[in-house]
């Protein structure tokens, strides 16, 4: 009788996930928990980290095997499988439907005035992308193929949708770890960037105040999206879908006659896309898929890309200062890495700590927005050179 109870109890246990919990799952649950902690307690990009962290935790709570004797499958992975709700969410990412929609929303929420007002600073949008190429060369040295290395390098562009876009084109099998690295580091920029920025600047440089930007007229703001869309479609067709949608969203905002559409693109639609995207990304973080040498290398190279990108942006700004009579605060250089508006906020906060009268946010938004184009241009050139359409 007792043996029978024990047998049935054991059989019942095998039907649950508890018997299949591995140390890898525990590590990933801790990582997911840390993401949620940083989002709630430290306010580090909660819109991204809550969804990624939560789905990372759930993806690592194993359920019963899908087939008797097979590997455990978590409840979240059930909905990721074909026919499940988040399967279609992930397909939206993999089939490149979601990245252009994110750009549409970003465009509808963004005022490109700071970039138009100070065109000299757009060069920082290219200067802050050295990290892409450092990571690319190191990835090749680590044994990745050139296409895989290019996809890993683009993490340094600090632009989630662009990282997804380029990765799907170059190395779709790396989409999970690359999107996780890109979005996680973007969210963690307030921790990653300041030490590099402070190391490369003197307290005097951090205290530099910048003159107020000129007012940009409505006509300029209306011409801007059309001009950029023409330039990008003309010269960089591989990345045109993203920038075109960014500019369409911006035109909806600036036109003044499509307020409803701009509000939807930058509001409700964007929120839906963020929920889908973050859960889709977090669901790829199951320990058995995520905890391997390649992923660890990709995550490490992504961090290096962010560090070098931040450093090269600050150094580019310092080099520009050598030729300028009115000096710029070199802290805005790191904002050229993209990741709108996180990197601009970091520049502002670090400058504000050095000089409480310093409000760099609008100045930093110029290079920050230029960084979006810088990443797109780098990605477009990379795809063209690698012969990928």
């Amino acid at each position: 009788m007792f043996d029978q109870v024990l047998f049935f109890f054991n059989a019942l246990l095998q039907q649950t996930g508890a018997a299949n919990l591995s140390w890898g799952n525990l590590v990933m649950i801790a990582i997911g928990g840390t993401m949620i902690y940083l989002a709630i307690a430290k306010h580090y990009e909660p819109l991204l980290l809550i969804g990624i962290g939560f789905s990372c935790i759930v993806a690592n709570v194993p359920g019963p095997p899908d087939v008797p004797g097979g590997p455990p499958v978590s409840a979240l992975l059930y909905v990721v499988k074909e026919g499940g709700l988040f399967h279609y969410a992930y397909e939206g990412v993999a089939k490149l439907i979601i990245p252009p929609l994110i750009f549409l929303g970003v465009g509808a929420m963004t005022d490109f005035g700071p970039m138009i007002a100070n065109p000299r600073l757009v060069i920082l949008g290219a200067g802050a992308h050295l990290g892409i190429f450092v990571a690319l060369i190191l990835a090749k040295l680590c044994g990745f193929s050139i296409n895989e290395a290019g996809a890993i390098g683009i993490i340094g562009g600090a632009d989630g949708p662009m990282a997804i876009f380029v990765t799907v084109k170059l190395a779709p099998h790396l989409l999970g770890p690359i999107s996780v690295a890109a979005y996680s580091y973007m969210a963690l920029m307030p921790m990653i960037q300041p030490p590099v920025m402070k190391f490369l600047t003197t307290p005097e440089e951090r205290r530099i105040e910048m003159a107020q930007l000129r007012k940009v007229s409505k006509l300029e703001k209306l011409v801007f999206p059309a001009a950029i869309a023409i330039i990008v479609n003309l010269f960089f067709p591989p990345v045109a879908p993203l920038i075109t949608m960014l500019m369409l969203g911006n035109l909806l905002k600036e036109a003044g006659v499509t307020e409803r559409l701009a509000k939807t693109a930058g509001g409700a639609l964007m929120n839906i896309i963020i929920i889908i995207l973050t859960v889709a990304i977090g669901s790829t973080m199951a320990a058995d898929k995520f905890l391997n040498w390649d992923t660890i290398l990709i995550v490490g190279l992504g961090l290096l890309a962010f560090l070098f990108g931040t450093a090269s942006g600050v150094i580019t700004a310092k080099v520009m200062n050598l030729f300028m009579t009115v000096k710029i605060n070199p802290l805005i250089g790191s904002a050229g890495i993209a990741s709108v508006p996180i990197a601009a906020r970091v520049s502002h906060i670090v400058a504000n700590q050095a000089n409480p009268h310093n409000h760099l946010i609008f100045h930093a938004m110029g290079p920050n927005l230029a960084g979006v184009f810088g990443t797109a241009i780098s990605g477009g050139i990379m795809l063209a050179l690698l012969g990928v359409q």
């Binding site: 970039m115 138009i116 065109p119 000299r120 757009v122 060069i123 949008g125 290219a126 200067g127 992308h129 050295l130 892409i132 190429f133 690319l136 060369i137 990835a139 090749k140 040295l141 193929s145 050139i146 296409n147 290395a149 290019g150 390098g153 000129r214 940009v216 007229s217 409505k218 006509l219 300029e220 209306l222 011409v223 801007f224 001009a227 950029i228 330039i231 010269f235 036109a255 003044g256 006659v257 499509t258 307020e259 409803r260 230029a370 184009f373 810088g374 241009i377 780098s378 050139i381 990379m382 050179l385 690698l386 012969g387």
Partner: protein
């Protein structure tokens, strides 16, 4: 086009980094011309908003 070697990766990086600077500088030049647009006239934002949907 680019060989799948470390040399290829370095070559790709140099070309891409250099061209990115050139193109971004080009966009900067286009933006520097934007203030001249204001010579064409001004747009009444209030009127635009009133005619919105």
């Amino acid at each position: 086009m680019i060989p799948d070697t470390v040399y290829g990766a370095v070559l790709l990086s140099i070309i891409d980094f250099f061209l990115s600077f050139v193109v971004i500088a080009g966009i900067g030049i286009v933006l520097a011309l934007f203030p001249y647009l204001n010579r064409l006239g001004t747009i009444d934002e209030k009127k635009l908003r009133e005619s919105g949907h």
